[in-house]
Subunit: 312 residues, 4 copies
């Protein structure tokens, strides 16, 4: 992560300024507010604002006049009930706003979640910095042989070195040429006064997909948890999971009861299909079921055994 001195000063100034409010306030999240939590080589996640807390979930579920409830344990029980039975609307009553810096190819996955508000830094209007994502050696994975959208072993030796060289050289060269086509120096003046400079909205097309962009992203708690359940999942690409991890920490600081319920009833939960449930009942009755007489495909059988911690 590489913040300029001006950016750091802006962040510190935001953190230094406080005011009195009648709103629901969460000290543990206030502590994190505005701080840049580093992700990948140049990215970050910052919490910019939030609305509501665990009690606000309860308050909305009860449509109550006051700020919520007497006993924290009662609230936690109701929150667990709401999570278990997929009552989504009370969780929509909490809202959070992030500032995220991320590679464009990650942004393209992320934006597929349509239930958020987004303001992205505009490369039609401004010039993108010379910052690209280059995987750390331990994340430079080969294509999986068994899963067309998965990763295999980590690349090593000359192949790894060559890949890193190509990624670095191509990103650097395309950005250099981007600046050359723009013909605009850091001072805003033409580099070559005899040239006009290509329009920003066109020049950006020369950048590679690992170039960093940034946006403000605002979402309610229900949809954030849905996003995190997909993006913190082992099937998600590592580069987006890397963002989900610190975001889960911010949720834990913000709404600890909702987070605990989410961990138990979503992150750690397993759904068995009707055919799997039939197999489960046979297993519990002591029957020795095998894949070939289970009614499940090999893939489903493997998924089920993995969920139960048994050898397939």
């Amino acid at each position: 992560m590489s913040l300029t001195d001006d950016q750091l000063a802006d962040i510190e100034a935001s953190r230094a300024s406080t005011a009195a409010t009648r709103r629901a306030t969460v000290p543990a999240l206030e502590e994190l507010l505005y701080q840049a939590l580093p992700v990948l080589d140049h990215g970050f996640v910052r919490v910019i604002d939030y609305m509501g807390d665990d009690a606000a979930i309860v308050q909305a579920a009860r449509v109550s006049y006051g700020r919520g409830t007497k006993r924290v344990s009662e609230d936690a029980g109701l929150i667990r009930y709401l999570m278990r039975h997929r009552h989504s609307t009370p969780f929509e009553m909490c809202e959070i706003k992030y500032h995220v810096k991320l590679p464009i190819f990650v942004a393209r996955q992320w934006i597929r979640h349509r239930t958020a508000n987004v303001n992205e830094y505009s490369a039609r209007y401004s010039i993108l910095d010379r910052e690209f994502y280059i995987p750390a050696p331990e994340h430079l994975a080969a294509q999986s042989a068994s899963n067309r959208q998965g990763r295999g072993a980590v690349l090593t030796g000359q192949e790894a070195a060559d890949v890193l060289d190509l990624l670095r050289a191509d990103a650097a060269r395309t950005h250099d040429n981007y600046v050359a086509m723009l013909n605009e120096g850091p001072d805003g003046q033409p580099i070559d006064p005899g040239r006009q400079g290509l329009a920003r909205e066109l020049a950006r097309m020369n950048l590679t997909l690992n170039t960093y962009t940034q946006w403000y992203w605002k979402i309610d708690l229900h949809n954030l948890l849905h996003f995190l359940s997909l993006r913190a999942d082992a099937h998600a690409q590592y580069e987006i999971r890397a963002y989900a991890a610190p975001m889960l920490e911010t949720v834990k600081a913000w709404v600890p009861a909702a987070y605990a319920a989410f961990r138990d009833y979503r992150l750690g939960a397993v759904t068995f299909s009707a055919p799997m449930l039939a197999v489960l009942k046979r297993l519990l009755a002591g029957e020795a079921v095998e894949q070939k007489d289970s009614g499940l495909s090999k893939r489903e059988w493997a998924e089920m055994m993995a969920a139960l911690g048994r050898a397939a």
Copy 2:
């Protein structure tokens, strides 16, 4: 408006409690927070929470690191530009949450706006109070003769008295019978111990559409302004306009620059169609245009003349 002592105490307790926050805070809206702003005979609107302020709109539009800007006048100028050119996403970065008490027939119009989060008081789970909307005499309007979904003159004399009697009597009787079918007294005990009581989810079907319900309703500023532009409009039914009015006041307290831009570029703006624009150019050129040679229908002509403050 009729709040119980317990409800008033809850509201006062919420207002009395403050905490320090690093978030954007708006003193003028803090002043209104939690207060019940009366609407119609028993309804209200209360602001329960909010996120962001005028500077947050600017901050998101610029994807900036700090809390916004140096000069208020510069921010207001950018906000006016964004509003004029229908840049909606920066306004989505502010969020507000209301507690609203309203007649069911108003709630049915209101809920058609799908871009909000809602938690409604459940009549499957709880028992609705004996409160109905009865129009004030000056709002007891006749059917419009010219507009199938509009109002004409105010009813007077015996007809007005009869209507009010019927509305009151039917609402009272259906609610009495609702309670009788539920067979549940205020203490939660059976009224008639020999009876089981009809399920709440069924008994509610006996209530009339002027019965009051209530909900928590949360929405971003862009969609709130869209809601208000439709519901504060003269074509909207009076009973929903009555809610839009105090909500506009809360917007004015919350984001004064966005409110001023909204007033100029939406509430007070007029859209002229391509054929109307052609007429306008002829008028400006000094031509005496009449409806029959305008290319506009009588209705469009009347709408255009009304917008220009000219006799049709």
Copy 3:
């Protein structure tokens, strides 16, 4: 269900008219098109239009140039995979449009699903017919003693008779008074020429919540399946489940492979939380687990045992 002769003629005329199309077409759903499938005492569901079929799901998942695939069994396998792994976007590529007639209190639950397009018959503009939902005797349930939003045993004897009398009488009287306040006869002429008639948008507030309304409702397959998974569920109120049942039949006719996958992976599936999964592993290892040493609440234990078909 009570359709007028004109309505039946309109339906028959729609069914009689066919045209050639290059679009994906599903004969089994064409067979049902426009027909009113009866629900409750006066309601119905009609399929008005549809877009796509099972092959369209596959086509979108593959972003292919042609109309889909060679082998039906391969398509079904991919559809099962997409359903199991919650890939929702290919299912969004199919769309269906219904015309539904339903009691207002059911419409109020239904409209909470925000991801559909709706046009409701307007009681601001038109006059609602004298049709109310009155439960059949076998659906006249008492309030559940254990579940605040559930039903208990069916009411019988004098209590049942009294409830039905009250429901019928109140609905009839409030509708009669609605018409009296409107002062408009079936011919559109004033009933009493000396009166103006209350505005329609006001008079409607006197109707009870079991009055029938109707709407056009259009939704994509992914969101329809989500709606049906909630509304066909045993926890849903009977009166909305009554609509989910024939709608499931229309889905089965329309996209049989998606329907079969939905039945196996959603309707018949069970989700076990992390604590439940821990219990399951102990049970499979042969341990005799009881609720008090399970780490589950009594309620969760009961839910888990019910899912496994074991005595709690």
Copy 4:
């Protein structure tokens, strides 16, 4: 546009196959169905499916039992009324599905419209073709001096030649290196058997933003018209306007009455703010108003004069 023989054969097969349907059918759109309408150098738009027609808008607005109406002129009048008064829900009752091939930087703008269904070709799963957008010489514009997100004059001479060379060379080299890192030949076999090949989900980050992608995109007519009103606008980037143009033609073929209303009341319409309206009234009263005494900023004054076709 460059379709393979297989792709052309798939398209022709789709066009050749017809079936009988009871659904609303539009011969003029059937004529266009599945055809690739060329856009930019390698892109296209294809209509894949549609639901509804002009009569379906009317049918939904009236919640009618039949297929619509007797007289086309009456329908058109109602559609104009609905468009003028921004009744959006009847237009939501029509749906259309496109297959679009477009450069990634265009896709990034396009996806900001959240009210559509999308399935994009996955570069996690598959390998992207070697196709890039290179602007035609007449679209190679300089940066605008006055508008930070606009274009100025067309580049010429050596600067134009250099820009085109850089764009071509960088896109070609990064794609060549993408394939080299993947280490996968057209036959699916390793190019160098001694290497593993980088995971697809990683290798794609080396591609430039002018690489072509493709997706299925489905949207209702109301939201499509909103999209087109923004993207066919003169302020939109040329490369996305190039897609809006043939899409407008498909709308015209599909729902001619809605298209005509859209053209008059949206595309060709102008909105005057409250301060502009005040100026307009003074002008119509014969007053000679100038910018400095107009109450408008220079920019707003210029916008207003441009709309009225007067010298600023």
